[in-house]
């Protein structure tokens, strides 16, 4: 795992995405991390701090009618997201079949029965790495986890 990270750093250096100094600092940080706690792959995910909130920040430019810019700031606890996706497990089997039939009619080949709690947990965990940054002349949108 460490070699993989080191290779990524060297590839970024060769592509000119980072300078030699930055590459050296990154490699030193990797080695410090290995020295302090070991580089056991099974412990790496647990050492990474789990994000607690999903943030959505939107700033839209002023409208023509001069109301001023529109700003949206939403912070949703990740626990709420986890609990919300678990609601799918409460859908009765009969309702799930009906939803599957309706989805197939629309051309969506998706089976709700395949959704399992462990898959949803993994999705929520991966959302922690999600970052969306849109910068347009009309609006700025940022979605990230903290």
């Amino acid at each position: 795992m460490m070699n993989e990270h080191r290779m990524q750093i060297l590839q970024m250096l060769s592509a000119g995405q980072i300078t030699a100094e930055e590459a050296e600092r990154l490699i030193a940080a990797l080695e410090n991390g290995r020295a302090s706690g070991g580089s056991d792959e099974s412990t790496e995910p647990t050492r990474k701090a789990r994000p607690k909130y999903l943030r959505v920040l939107v700033e839209a430019q002023e409208h023509d009618h001069g109301d001023g810019p529109t700003k949206v700031n939403v912070r949703v606890p990740m626990q709420l997201l986890r609990a919300g996706v678990k609601l799918t497990s409460l859908i009765p089997a009969q309702a799930r079949d009906q939803v599957n039939v309706a989805l197939r009619k629309q051309g969506v080949q998706f089976d709700l029965n395949q959704i399992k709690p462990e898959n949803l947990e993994e999705i929520i965990d991966q959302i922690g790495d999600l970052t969306v940054d849109v910068d347009d002349k009309h609006a700025k949108v940022r979605v990230f986890c903290e």
């Binding site: 109301d67 001023g68 810019p69 700003k71 949206v72 912070r75 709420l80 609990a83 009765p92």
Partner: protein, 86 residues
């Protein structure tokens, strides 16, 4: 933990503002007897729909506890709405 307080703030385009602190813990205390009374009906409905009642109860509790820390703020010009739970 379930949220104990909520802060709600409104401001309209005429710059009239309205702020309210809601002691949610009192709301939960008031709703507790109602929830206890409705519990048998809840179990009956879950049995009728073939849903695990205990799992459903756990999920609803998780949703309730997950509300703590929710922050929603929308502002458009002079008007704004803010809801925050503690």
């Amino acid at each position: 933990m379930i949220p104990f307080f909520a802060f709600v703030s409104f401001r309209n385009r005429r710059n009239r503002s309205f702020r309210l602190w809601i002691p949610l813990f009192l709301v939960w205390l008031l709703l507790l007897p109602v929830a206890i009374l409705l519990l048998p009906l809840f179990f009956v409905l879950c049995a009728a729909e073939k849903v695990n009642a205990f799992q459903a109860r756990a999920i609803f509790w998780q949703i309730l506890t997950g509300l703590k820390g929710t922050h929603v703020e929308v502002a458009e010009g002079q008007a704004s709405v803010l809801i925050h739970t503690f």
